[in-house]
Symmetry: C3
Amino acid sequence: MSTQIKFLGIGAFEITLHDGRVVLIDPCLEANPASPVKVADLEQVDLVLVTHLAEDHLGDAAAIARNFQCPVVCGKEVKYFLRCHGVDPDQIRVVPWHGQVNPLGIRVRSVPSMHASVGLAPDGQWLSGPPMGFILYAAEDCRIYHSGDSAIFSDLKLIGQLYRPNVGLLCACELEDEYLHSVGLKDHYGNEMSGDEGALAAMWLGLEYALCCHYLDPDGRADVEKFVSMLVSEEGPTPVVLRPGEVFIYPHMD
Amino acid sequence: MSTQIKFLGIGAFEITLHDGRVVLIDPCLEANPASPVKVADLEQVDLVLVTHLAEDHLGDAAAIARNFQCPVVCGKEVKYFLRCHGVDPDQIRVVPWHGQVNPLGIRVRSVPSMHASVGLAPDGQWLSGPPMGFILYAAEDCRIYHSGDSAIFSDLKLIGQLYRPNVGLLCACELEDEYLHSVGLKDHYGNEMSGDEGALAAMWLGLEYALCCHYLDPDGRADVEKFVSMLVSEEGPTPVVLRPGEVFIYPHMD
Amino acid sequence: MSTQIKFLGIGAFEITLHDGRVVLIDPCLEANPASPVKVADLEQVDLVLVTHLAEDHLGDAAAIARNFQCPVVCGKEVKYFLRCHGVDPDQIRVVPWHGQVNPLGIRVRSVPSMHASVGLAPDGQWLSGPPMGFILYAAEDCRIYHSGDSAIFSDLKLIGQLYRPNVGLLCACELEDEYLHSVGLKDHYGNEMSGDEGALAAMWLGLEYALCCHYLDPDGRADVEKFVSMLVSEEGPTPVVLRPGEVFIYPHMD
């Protein structure tokens, strides 16, 4: 009954459930220089989760949804965007914060993200909607939280108490300068969730394992070092740092 | 000096103040199979409150506002929508979170709702704005909170401390499957506020009476049962469960 | 190494750093009857911060950005609006909540504001995005928080703990009735942050000095009186009340 969590760089994850079904979260593959997997490489996708309308998270959700005709869980503004890109609206499951859906019997809960989900649709429409995190109920004992670019906020404690996620995927690292410049972002001075804030979030959520993400390469990144060292020194959740392409398996054998 | 609170199904309420004036909250009547009152049946409406831009809450606000030429309290995005449907913008009172307005001397406060208020206007414009709850100061001793589809959040405690609502209308039940299917929602697996979360919210708000809503018929609904049983077992606010058409009168004689 | 904070009425401030550079926050000057400074009077502007898309806060940001070719820090929806008004997008630094930018080496952090940033662009597009507060790292010992029309919320305590702002500019006063009427707002009954809520916010942030704002003239305003009296009676941060045109210098000599 193990769940495999493969990191694909930035905030993208490919999660293989114990029964072999594959869930993608924030599948930015083509514009993600770190991803070892591109859209053409995907052989099976059963469900896609999109946290918010941003190129580095929404990524290739439209192409993947068209290719695999699979359900997509997201907000209403992402639905609008995906429709513009030819995704059949019948595939899309809009879910409000704290609401749940179970397409194909795979249970997913949306939780608030302190971020934004805004931008232009291909037809020139300005879109805005609720940015989200997710809890994917991957197995009886494996509830995976994805932060979806959220800043830290105190109700992560409430989310932890109510829904008890035990594995967390925390976007708690500033993306590499080269990447930020390539997408036109200048003068960035720190991520919406820093490494130590990510560690704090992991403790508030009451996780068992906390995976840091939102980087192309973890080596020498100050946020990653702070994330790990704070969790170790505070005896919090076990920190996990993956390189793109690496897999974390739960239950984990230390 | 009694206040009458008549439930109309889903999140719709008709509140009759002690002086006979009538306030409607989230007046979804025509598309609400449970409402015993339709737009043509309304004889008096003095004020309309709209929590957010969703068919099952905004409902028939435009037609009612046109018919009765009464003020409407809502967010800016709902104002845009109502204008498209022919409501005179001079009738509309936009109010920000925690701000207050008193059209006709009826005091109303907007409070945050952890939800979304998004969707298309009739002219094709994508709208988004702040989803809200309300506190209606119905009488000196009767401050009515409406949750407006909010998920639970810890600052309900703050709202309770600052503004001391004593009667709460909590959208804490998943709508019936048939209704959800009829509006195109598939694979729903739980409401944005479950019954036990609604009970917790009622306690955090420090209510005296907690009315559960967001259903067509309360019979046999698990959320309603949890709402009631948790409030009873925790010795919290007195739970109240109304059928559509039933009236709760405050002050209440037990 | 002193920082000069000049109040210009409503939520507008001109902050002169120790090295002579000038930062404007929410520069509503032309439509602000209290501002002693109009756009044509400005001699130097190095950076503009805009909390949200509202006429009384965004104000003349577009004209100022065009005149001085300086960077503007804001949300994506404000960027869209400014572009419509001829501002070069290369000047604009979009920053998410809790993220930081440092244009020209001036460090600025965005923090959440419990408000809304919505409205029409000049091209008819409905815009919406994340309303923000700011922390301006004006000097080693001077971290200036601007509330940007936020309602009170408990995570101001978290912002205080994480980022330790010591000077606060709090929009905690209802604007004058005449002004509200002039912009079409009727039946207002209280600001999104009242004077006593502003005082509570100042204490939660752990400020050293708390400047009240969001008025044209502080004389005889109940919110201002409550702000000051509550901070004094609770032995909280030192309250500061400026008239438009007056300057507060930090470090402050009592």
